[in-house]
């Protein structure tokens, strides 16, 4: 009975913890876009001045293109505007078959080799960048929603160590610019709004835009609670 009470109390505690986390709105994170001047914001909002939109247009064509004797992305995923909405926001994610974290372009290539049965596209090729840009475009303006896969805890920790590791001729770590000088944004909880602890040389977000280790743990715990 005593044991049972303890487990109920533990469950209650967990529920409280997750509901507290769920109520942690409004989101303290901000996009770097918000810190730009109005002039730069308007420039960035103008798709026509952005050559990246050429790749998005490419990707839209490739989405419907039938590769070899196989089928197109649209055959399984239908309209990317619906099916890919928010998808890019959770990458890199864990791939249980490859047993490693994969980023969005690797996921696209895995889809090619597993389902379309065609060769993977070369890294950073025009086609792959186009598809990636098109898929990521469907998540435009959405906040990052990092995967809660438990397997990502270890790679994230590895990423954090690399991020904090001083390297190179100038003996600087990533964090020395991206974390330690983040007081420029004033008292808005700057550490929480700037990208902390992003991944290794591969680029963005092996780790989310999280404010503190507590929040990282909280996220992991919530992920655990939800199974």
């Amino acid at each position: 009975m005593r044991f049972r009470f303890a487990s109920i109390a533990a469950m209650f505690g967990l529920l409280c913890a997750s509901s507290v986390f769920a109520q942690a709105t409004p989101d303290k994170r901000r996009s770097g876009f918000d810190t730009m001047s109005a002039r730069i914001q308007s420039m960035q909002s103008d798709d026509l001045q952005n050559p990246g939109m050429l790749w998005v247009a490419d990707g839209e064509v490739l989405w419907k293109k039938i590769f070899g004797i196989s089928f197109s992305c649209a055959h399984c995923h239908n309209d990317a505007k619906q099916s890919m909405k928010g998808v890019a926001a959770k990458y890199p994610d864990w791939d249980p078959i490859e047993n490693r974290p994969v980023d969005l372009s690797q996921r696209i290539n895995l889809c090619r080799t597993r389902h379309q049965l065609v060769l993977p596209l070369p890294p950073e090729s025009v086609e792959l960048l186009g598809l990636e840009a098109y898929v990521a475009y469907q998540s435009r303006g959405m906040p990052l929603a990092p995967s809660s896969a438990k397997e990502l805890i270890e790679p994230r920790e590895r990423g954090r160590r690399q991020y904090e590791q001083r390297i190179g001729q100038l003996n600087l770590s990533c964090g020395q610019c991206h974390d330690e000088r983040d007081d420029r944004t004033g008292d808005l909880g700057a550490a929480a709004v700037r990208p902390r602890r992003v991944g290794g040389a591969q680029g963005h977000a092996l780790d989310p835009l999280l404010g503190s280790d507590d929040e990282v743990r909280a996220l992991v715990e919530v992920g655990d609670a939800h199974g």
């Binding site: 798709d47 026509l48 001045q49 050559p51 939109m53 050429l54 247009a57 490419d58």
Partner: protein
């Protein structure tokens, strides 16, 4: 076929000044850079851009090697009649591309 992005208004009042903006995908290889094998990469640039409004040349530009890849060109045109725009890019290695846009002037 190179990819282009064109922003041109579809309707305008007579006498209105319209901004037209164009972007085309092109490497604009200068002819001065060395490739990975050390040999100079041959020049490959767009040499001329022209915009015709109902057949009449209203804007043109000569482009040179110092202009960046994917050249973005914006210019103003006075709306005086309904009709069509044609945008032409011409360059090295027989590069030629034409795109069209229509406009209704009230």
């Amino acid at each position: 076929m190179a990819r282009t992005l064109i922003h041109a208004p579809t309707t305008a009042r007579k006498g209105e000044v319209m901004e037209i903006r164009t972007l085309i995908a092109h490497p604009m290889e200068t002819g001065y850079r060395a490739g990975s094998d050390g040999r100079t990469l041959p020049r490959d640039i767009i040499r001329r851009f022209a915009c015709r409004y109902n057949g009449e040349l209203v804007f043109s530009a000569d482009l040179y090697p110092a202009i960046s890849a994917n050249p973005y060109i914006a210019f103003n045109v006075v709306a005086n009649a309904s009709g069509s725009f044609s945008f032409t890019w011409e360059g090295d290695n027989g590069f030629a591309q034409t795109e069209n846009a229509t406009i209704t002037v009230a």
